[in-house]
Amino acid sequence: MENAFSPEDLARRRSRSKRLAWLIGGAVLLLYIAGFFLKR
């Protein structure tokens, strides 16, 4: 990859990372809230 770590490439990688981070964060929140609906 020739333009690796160029400002554009880094911006692309960071925006991909942010999307994935929000996705994981959402899953964490969902898991946390789901716990309150646990029934024996």
Binding site: M1, R14, A21, L31, Y32, G35
Partner: protein, 531 residues
């Protein structure tokens, strides 16, 4: 494993604030790694002092130094501090420092999240320990006295120390989740071109599995302690049998987090070991693929075995049998790891610098943790050993010999890379021998105490246990004070010493050794070439 052609690094003259503002506002992965590691070392001594007070009380039978309530508080906060404020931050410090260097990235993917994740830790540590101070001024009745497990109904009835601990655990959990998210996205998105997943250093693999375990289990712990909080203050009855709730439900929820937590503490160390063993054996790591799949297998198995911690709470026979065999099955991938570690050393040109000594000490002593873990996984045997000092000895072989000695291995291995100076080998070796001897002096007697029936978390005991307790206390004090050598060695190394080259160790392989020691402010501005 990856190799790289030489890369000069980039001595970037970055303008960043100096003094305190540098540390408050930094988004640099190395600065944040340093803060995590410094914080972990400080909390290691705080947690250590607490348990030395406990061991002093246990030196003789009878109550000498403290009331039983205070004894229980010290034990609970010792565990919480060591797990959440010492071992986990130390591993996160390693990840921050080393993962970008090892995968050829310029920094972590989300640097500001990284800074935030660290600065949540000090307030949480203050919350955990503050009830001790408040009690001195007559406010409240001290810290949490339930042990680190928060078991209901004791925790529902406990004093305000429980509320402080619940809040602290929420904050520590948020910090860990932020760190985990950052590590996952960094490994997925910031690798240098050509660094495929199966070329990823094993340390990064160990941390990747750890991060997923944290993501999967921390919300469950957070949910459980939030439910505890609402039981305490808002009239709910999640864990109150009188109101239709179930205290055993809390135990299940806690250990759904609690057992993977053991692997959360150990997987980063297991990832680090192959690097150290390969370096000082001057041989490539044996069984890279087998180790990766073992990490994954252990990660998966760790979330389906939790109830072996509560065999005695009452479970149907099929559940007991399932949890016994599933727990025992973890020994298969773990045995693969042990085999690979030993095979890496086999017929290597070994030398015994301090990191290698600690790595070998780790393998031997952690092996004892594994073997005694198999004993505890046996339903019939566990009925006798449960809640005894046998359990205490077992998990200290896992978490001190496995966790803390692993962290110490990593510090000695990477400290010259971080500081650009070599530490004192003489002091390092003295530290190793004192640690190993004192550790065994402390915990071997506890196996015998447990087998003879001494219960844990009790400040007084029958006369028959006196000798082993005295030996254990002497060992604990030698172990505690020998860690001052470690702190002094680090201090001297940070301040100065013999300069080291980029490749600190003759047999070291990997991208991190291609950069200068210490590495430039921005780690890899030009991506390394992976072969």
């Amino acid at each position: 494993m990856s190799t790289a052609i030489a890369h000069p690094g980039n001595p970037h003259d970055e303008h960043y604030p100096g003094g305190l503002m540098r540390w408050l506002t930094t988004t640099n992965h190395k600065d944040i790694g340093t803060m995590y590691l410094t914080f972990a070392l400080m909390m290691f001594f705080v947690g250590g002092l607490m348990i030395l007070a406990v061991r002093a009380e246990l030196f003789q039978p009878g109550l000498q130094l403290m009331k039983p309530e205070f004894f229980n508080q010290l034990i609970g906060v010792h565990a919480l501090v060591m797990i959440f404020a010492a071992l986990m931050p130390a591993a996160t410090g390693f990840a921050n420092w080393m993962i970008p260097l090892m995968i050829g990235a310029p920094d972590m993917a989300l640097p500001r999240l990284n800074n935030w994740g660290f600065w949540l830790l000090p307030p949480a540590a203050i919350l955990l320990t503050m009830p001790f101070t408040l009690a001195l001024f007559g406010i409240g009745d001290g810290a949490i006295a339930t042990g680190w497990t928060f078991y209901a109904p004791l925790s529902v009835q406990g004093g305000m120390g429980v509320d402080f601990a619940i809040l602290a655990v929420h904050i520590l959990g948020i910090s860990s989740i932020m760190g985990s998210i950052n590590i996952i996205v960094t490994i997925f998105n910031m690798r240098a071109p050509g660094m495929t997943m199966m070329k990823l250093p094993l340390f990064a693999w160990g941390w990747l599995i750890t991060a997923f375990l944290l993501i999967a289990t921390l919300p469950v712990l957070a949910g459980a302690v939030t439910m505890l909080l609402t039981d305490r203050h808002f009239g709910t009855h999640f864990f109150n049998a009188a109101g239709g709730g179930d205290p055993i439900l809390f135990q299940h929820l806690f250990w759904f987090f609690g057992h993977p937590e053991v692997y959360i503490l150990l997987l980063p160390v297991w990832g680090l070991m192959p690097h150290v063993l390969s370096t000082f054996s001057r041989k490539p790591t044996y069984g890279y693929t087998a180790q990766v799949y073992s990490f994954i297998a252990i990660g998966v198995l760790s979330v389906v075995v939790w109830a072996h911690h509560i065999f005695t709470s009452g479970m149907p026979i099929p559940a007991l049998v399932y949890f016994m065999f599933s727990t025992m099955s973890i020994s298969i991938p773990l045995a693969v790891l042990f085999f690979c570690w030993i095979a890496t050393m086999w017929r290597g040109a070994m030398t015994f610098e301090t990191p290698m000594l600690f790595a070998i000490g780790f393998i031997v002593l952690f092996g004892i943790a594994g073997l005694t873990g198999l004993v505890l996984a046996d339903v019939a045997a566990d009925a006798q050993y449960h809640h005894s000092y046998f359990v205490v000895a077992h998990f200290h072989y896992a978490l001190f010999a496995g966790g803390i000695m692993g962290v110490i291995t990593g510090v000695y291995y990477w400290l010259p890379k971080w500081t650009g100076h070599m530490y004192s080998e003489k002091l390092g070796k003295l530290h190793f021998w004192l640690t190993v001897i004192a550790f065994n002096l402390t915990f071997i007697p506890q196996f015998f105490l447990g087998l003879a029936g001494m219960p844990r978390r009790i400040p007084d005991y029958a006369l028959q246990f006196a000798e082993f307790n005295a030996i254990s206390t002497i060992g604990a004090f030698i172990l505690g004070f020998s860690q001052l050598i470690f702190a002094y060695n680090i201090w001297c190394c940070v301040r100065g010493g013999t300069k080291v080259e980029a490749r600190v160790w003759e047999g070291a392989e990997g991208l991190e050794w291609e950069l200068s020691s210490p590495p430039p402010h921005h780690s890899w501005e030009i991506p390394p070439v992976i072969r």
